[in-house]
């Protein structure tokens, strides 16, 4: 092992003026003296792909729910032979992960029969279980929708008396909050019900291809597996349909100023377009402009100016005579060509048979890998954030919060106490303490989070790993012992930027740095998008840009899938692209080799 190591989590110097930051997160996720020996001897990497910004207390809930659920399916459900879960911590507001490798051969061996039986059952019954999953997700969404966070009434309804209900609104508010937390965990359990197995089957096909064709680009493998008609692309396709309808109705000029939402809504009132919008927007426009993990990310359904701007761009293209329809037949034909040509290049018929079988399984599981993102990260998470804002509204009304978004500065379990405080004050009809106790605390927490946001967290902490076996760590974050060694060895050579060859082709153009989804509207035709990460909902800007560069992301990251779909060169996972490339600089992106050259 190299004697180089990353900084110890106990030595990292945080930003100034954040004393007490630990209080924003549960005690169990903060690095501590209690577990120092364990924590200091592990490898931890920052998941900047999902959490690129410091988390507010409530937002960090989803770090816990997601990673505990991921781990549970590895360790306790499917018994992935060489890997238990991923341990996680929060350092100065940023999440760090540490995959738990099993390196005892006998233990690995003993898990194999259970894995084969359990994972085998899912693989054998995948389609039926997936249909079942869709039903479970929709039922959970209905339940979350039914959660009632409305303020406490002056007096209970008469029906509570006449129906003999026997409980009141204060109990309802607390019970619904408990239920809400349970449903949030439930949906994150469902998130990983299939995903770990999806990655395992994909890795198997991936590994076979790498053995058959040692230098096959990852892209070639992804192209064979990728679905053609995927739910994740549906929101963008709906925008194109609406753009056509708007032109057909002679209403194109209405969209010239997409920020003028009320004018557009008035112009569409009573039209067939409005009816169509209402029909498709829920669920399809429950589409976040980010990863879905932050409460402030804007969704299309709540911020129609975002989809309006995309519709305006599509209208411009249609009016210029461009065909914006997705060439499904051509995409399918290309995928078939790629498969048949790789198959033809295999040396033996046995290989061809194995190739077909593995590809078959990968294609059965892959729609889940692609689609779960829409159902959970976009649809369900949009709803969860909306519900929490309803709760925030109630807390404002009760005087505990100054503004709705203050609700995200409570740890989730603190709200239990807050709600009891409110309830009991309401019941007694006396002042609650929360109105005095919380506002200064929340103000201080806001200040801490703002300072944490300005901090630049280290990429990794602790000992570089000798071996990585956990499928997500490899597939999603692209972390292997080699790639980590590369981080340690990288000198900051400013003229060369390189990353993963995520979508082929070469393009030159001026760089446009985008750090926030709010800035995607600034992107001009012919620019190259350079961002920490991109989100699937940025898809409509891809026809405008020449290429895309991201700091973070593996081959299977959500962004990479969309980049390939839109056929523009992309280099992902450059690590430092946004700090090395300056806004407006002329750059050349080679998406086939994963290199970026700064030409200015």
């Amino acid at each position: 092992m190299s004697d180089k190591r990353f900084p110890s989590p106990f030595e990292v110097e945080g930003p100034e003026g954040v004393d007490g930051w630990e209080e924003l997160y549960p005690y169990s996720v903060v690095f501590s003296e209690d577990l120092r020996e364990y924590e200091d001897n592990r490898f931890w990497f920052w998941d900047s792909m999902h959490w690129g910004y410091a988390m507010t207390p409530w937002d960090s809930t989803f770090l816990e729910l997601a990673i505990a659920s991921l781990s549970q399916f590895n360790s306790r459900h499917y018994r992935i032979p060489p890997a238990d879960g991923i341990d996680f911590r929060v350092l100065y507001g940023y999440p760090y992960f540490s995959p738990v490798t099993i390196d005892d051969g006998a233990r690995i061996e003993s898990r194999v029969p259970d894995f084969v039986e359990r994972a085998g059952h899912y693989f054998m019954n995948w389609d039926q279980l997936y249909d079942n999953w869709l039903g479970k997700i929709k039922a959970t969404i209905d339940e979350i929708n039914a959660i009632d966070f409305s303020p406490l009434p002056e007096m209970e309804d008469l029906a509570v008396i006449t129906d003999g209900i026997g409980t009141g609104s204060g109990q309802r508010l607390q019970a619904d909050y408990h239920r809400f937390k349970d449903l949030a965990l439930q949906v994150w359990q469902y998130h990983f019900e299939f995903l770990n197995l999806g990655y395992a089957a994909y890795l198997d096909f991936f590994g076979f291809c790498k053995q058959a064709f040692p230098s096959i680009p990852d892209l070639g493998i992804a192209k064979m597996v990728a679905g053609v008609e995927v739910d994740l692309f549906r929101p963008n396709e709906e925008l194109k349909i609406i753009a056509h309808k708007v032109i057909d109705a002679g209403l194109a000029r209405l969209f010239d100023d997409p920020k003028n939402v009320s004018a557009i809504q008035a112009g569409l009132a009573g039209t067939e377009i409005e009816a169509y919008w209402n029909e498709v927007s829920d669920p399809w426009f429950n589409f976040s402009s980010g990863t879905g993990f932050y409460h402030y990310e804007k969704t299309w359904i709540d911020y129609p100016e975002i989809p309006y701007a995309f519709i305006r761009d599509y209208i411009t293209k249609i009016e210029a005579g461009e065909d914006i329809t997705r060439p499904i037949e051509a995409i399918t034909a290309e995928r078939d060509r790629v498969v048949s040509e790789y198959s033809e290049l295999l040396e033996t018929d046995e290989d061809r048979q194995a190739f077909q079988e593995k590809l078959g399984l990968a294609r059965v599981v892959f729609p889940y890998v692609e689609n779960h993102n829409f159902y959970i990260e976009h649809w369900t998470m949009s709803l969860i954030w909306r519900k929490l804002k309803e709760l925030g509204d109630t807390l404002v009304k009760e005087g505990v919060c100054r503004e709705i978004d203050d609700v995200f500065y409570f740890r989730r379990d603190e709200i239990d106490e807050v709600l009891f405080d409110i309830y009991s004050a309401w019941a007694v009809n006396a002042p609650n303490r929360g109105s005095k106790y919380w506002p200064p605390k929340i103000a201080r927490r806001r200040e801490i989070v703002a300072r944490l946001r300005g901090w630049n967290p280290p990429k990794a902490l602790g000992e570089p790993p000798e071996i990585v076996t956990e499928p997500f760590t490899i597939m999603l974050w692209g972390i292997t012992s080699e790639s980590v060694a590369g981080w340690l060895g990288s000198d900051d050579d400013d003229s060369a930027v390189s990353g993963m060859a995520a979508s082929p082709g070469i393009a030159e153009g001026p760089a446009r740095l985008v750090f926030s989804p709010d800035d995607i509207g600034d992107i001009l035709d012919g620019e190259i998008l350079v961002a920490p990460i991109t989100a699937p909902s940025w898809a409509p800007v891809f026809p405008k840009i020449r290429a895309c560069v991201t700091d973070i992301g593996g081959m299977m990251s959500h962004a990479a899938i969309v980049c390939r779909e839109y056929g523009i060169p992309a280099v992902t996972g450059t690590g430092f692209g946004t700090s090395q490339i300056k806004n407006g600089q002329l750059i050349r992106v080679d998406g086939s080799t994963g290199t970026i050259t700064i030409l200015d």
């Binding site: 890795l203 076979f208 053995q211 064709f213 096959i216 680009p217 194995a354």
Partner: protein
């Protein structure tokens, strides 16, 4: 002398040249000329490896420059000169395989003897007629041609004779062609060729010589392409070496070529290494090939575009499919052909290094997908390189 070597026997018993003459009377094929575009597989024994390869490429609709083969029948006719046969057998018999310097001298004598003998009139007339037809076809007077030897035992996957027979470029006029045809014939008797046959245990008579005459391309750039990745045998890639002008600069080692790796299926350049290509061989206005310095701005520029690389890849794949095994291809980009049609193939022959490895299926395919997934999980990607 080497006692164990069977080559010695033929020298004593003189069977060699008699069997060459015998080929002439082969009833199935007596022509002196076979046009590449009329080539059929039955012609292979008479036109040799390289020429049949060009003919095969024409049949597979691979864009090779037009031309014709002068068959081994024509070569065989020179051995009807009894005095020539006697002189050469005498010289061969005097060889001591341990005396390298002496052998070079004997080889020179044999080659001179062959080159100074007259070519039979019928052969000269047939070559002149074919060349005139080629000039008409190309709409060029005295069209420059490449004259290449094409030995009948050459290009076997198990016996690389590379570099042991001659190629003459930019030859114009029927008379010059005839002179260079003789040099090709005599190149069967270079000291290296003689020593090689000796060491491999091949009889001299086992090898006859056909000669290819093919319109010269005037390449902007040229090079070779392997239909696999030579570093790891990956058959989904084409490896291309390319440099400015004719291929000589690379063959002679004077220039490090640009090196590319192109994915056959995705048709994308996945690796590129651009070298400093300081010299190139080009045809001058005087009709001769000269080494020239490359201007500064071209030296470090890629000598082929991505579109051309993809065209080379598609052709290479077509060739590989046609022959049913990995190929080693020579290609050029012709200055005089329009973009989009300017990539021509000069030669295609079997790749010999990776093709010899036995084919074996990947991993243990038990037909049980779970078993395979388990083994994938147990040998994770960290030790599977990206190929870069």
């Amino acid at each position: 002398m080497c006692e164990a070597c069977p080559v010695i026997d033929w020298a004593n018993e003189l069977p060699t040249v008699r069997s060459f003459t015998a080929r002439k009377v082969d009833a199935s094929m007596t022509d002196h000329i076979v046009w590449f575009d009329r080539y059929e597989p039955k012609h292979k024994p008479f036109v040799g490896g390289k020429n049949s390869s060009l003919g095969e490429m024409m049949r597979a609709e691979l864009p090779v420059p037009p031309g014709f083969a002068i068959t081994t029948n024509a070569y065989g006719l020179i051995w009807s000169d009894k005095a020539l046969v006697d002189d050469i057998n005498g010289l061969l018999r005097s060889i001591d395989h341990d005396d390298l310097a002496g052998n070079r001298e004997i080889s020179n004598k044999i080659r001179n003897r062959i080159e100074q003998s007259p070519v039979p009139d019928g052969v000269v007339a047939d070559i002149a007629e074919a060349y005139a037809a080629l000039c008409r076809h190309c709409e060029v007077d005295d069209v420059p041609v490449a004259v290449r030897s094409s030995a009948t035992a050459e290009d076997l996957p198990d016996a690389s004779f590379a570099g042991q027979q001659d190629t003459y470029l930019w030859i114009r006029g029927a008379g010059n062609i005839v002179e260079h045809v003789k040099r090709c014939w005599s190149s069967l008797f270079t000291d290296r060729a003689i020593a090689y046959r000796h060491s491999m245990g091949y009889l001299h008579e086992a090898i006859a010589m056909s000669v290819g005459v093919q319109k010269m391309v005037d390449p902007i750039a040229s090079g070779v392409a392997f239909t696999l990745n030579p570093t790891n045998g990956d058959r989904s890639q084409v490896a291309v070496d390319a440099s400015w002008g004719l291929g000589e600069a690379v063959v002679s080692g004077e220039v490090t070529p640009d090196n590319f790796l192109i994915d056959k299926v995705l048709r994308e350049v996945i690796h590129r290494e651009i070298s400093d290509k300081h010299v190139e061989y080009r045809l001058t206005e005087r009709g001769v090939v000269e080494k020239m310095a490359v201007e500064t701005d071209r030296r470090k520029s890629p000598c082929v575009s991505d579109e051309e690389l993809v065209a080379i890849t598609i052709l290479a794949r077509r060739a590989e499919k046609h022959y049913g095994c990995p190929q080693d291809i020579e290609w050029a980009i012709d200055r005089h052909l329009p973009v989009g049609e300017n990539v021509v193939m000069l030669q295609s022959r079997p790749e010999t290094v990776w093709s010899r490895k036995p084919k074996k299926p990947i991993g243990a395919t038990t037909g049980d997908p779970m078993h395979s997934i388990v083994s994938t999980l147990l040998s994770p990607m960290h030790n599977k390189s990206d190929g870069e």
